[in-house]
Symmetry: C2
Subunit: 229 residues, 2 copies
């Protein structure tokens, strides 16, 4: 087999935007870099793709290495390849995003040593980011805004059992606008993808709300159809 030799040094990497939802705010997982270039800067978690893994596999591996999390569906959304984007050579980056449940069972395991620390940061209070990561982030946020309007993916950010008000909050925070409570509930329930658990919220000092669970089986039927908010 004749190998095609690249005419110049080049390679490709994955960057991940991990969205989380906590205390009524949309968060993104950032790491503080411990190595040059951009030492001490905040950045999206990412890494070079290895020889024997596909892009999707690479994204899963990187997510796992950086967070300990497995079995999360990540979606590729864009590839960033401006000439000067990486100071150490021609490296293009394939960007993925995922939406995670924070807290609960899946706490974040320590991050590999290439980062000083990792934190969930409110998307409204982002620090200056390394490389072109601000651009990547902005585009990722736009992507989930569009997606959440058409597919009921907001569940992925919530604990397994959640109230309709919590769900509405997710929509409001991502879309950046208030929604009408009655209309939201009517519409959401009409999709028939929420299972009423006949169970109430606990530990609140006011009327407890009904808990719901996302019904994957029914979701399959909805998938493909378009919904909107």
């Amino acid at each position: 087999m004749i190998e095609v030799l690249p005419q110049f040094n080049s390679t490709f990497s994955i960057d991940c935007i991990l969205f989380g939802f906590d205390e009524g705010e949309l968060k993104v997982l950032l790491i503080e870099r411990n190595e040059e270039p951009f030492k001490d800067w905040w950045a999206l978690p990412g890494n070079l793709v290895s020889e024997n893994e596909s892009l999707d596999q690479s994204a899963s591996r990187i997510l796992h290495e950086l967070t300990g999390i497995e079995n999360v569906y990540m979606e590729q959304f864009y590839t960033f390849g401006d000439v000067g984007r990486h100071p150490q050579g021609r490296i293009i980056s394939v960007a993925y995003y995922a939406m995670l449940r924070l807290g609960g069972d899946k706490a974040l395991k320590p991050i590999s040593n290439y980062a000083k620390q990792a934190h969930w940061i409110n998307v409204k209070e982002l620090p200056k980011l390394a490389f072109d990561h601000q651009k990547i982030f902005d585009q990722g946020l736009e992507k989930i805004k569009r997606r959440i309007k058409h597919q009921p993916i907001a569940f992925e950010l919530l604990p397994e059992k959640f109230t309709l008000t919590q769900l509405q909050n997710v929509y409001e925070v991502i879309l950046g606008k208030k929604l009408d409570k009655r209309n939201f509930r009517k519409k959401m329930l009409s999709f028939n993808v929420l299972k009423d658990l006949n169970e109430k919220q606990k530990g609140v000092s006011f009327r407890a709300a009904t808990l719901y669970r996302f019904d994957k089986r029914k979701y399959g039927k909805l998938f493909g159809k378009e919904i909107s908010f």
Copy 2:
């Protein structure tokens, strides 16, 4: 500056899906390869990215080299990076699509010598394609189906002056279903992006239809809003 050396030979390419519309059919531009691998196979036009060009620039260059066409908006839609996708090494491909007016002023100039020939081929009669190009094509077609439902991009496939029936044909062919004539016209005109040219079709042996032009200024206002068919 410390260069990051890739740990293995790898590089990246662009593949373009060029959609055209002719004789009531959706077409795609394919080349017949003149070199190994996949010599004599049909393939999407594509090439390696050069050192000093961004991905977008590379896509424009490749489009120009292969078709002589310039100033067409191409949109990146996905990056294909399975391990075995290219028999000559680890080459991932960033895929773009564009919608072109066929015929008229912009005839295709001869293709560079790396292809035996290039042809516009009906998307319903595709030959077996090289590499993973069938997969790339399928995904590109899905993409424009989704996009045409939400943004009035069908114009890009038509000559500058067109009739409503021609426009409806584009929608029907891409969406793969018949649309109601009255409802289509009502809706399309309600977007206010078509300028009535007070001019009639010529050379037809039946009642001549009114010609319209796409109004870019008004389109700007619509953009962002969602429409649907």
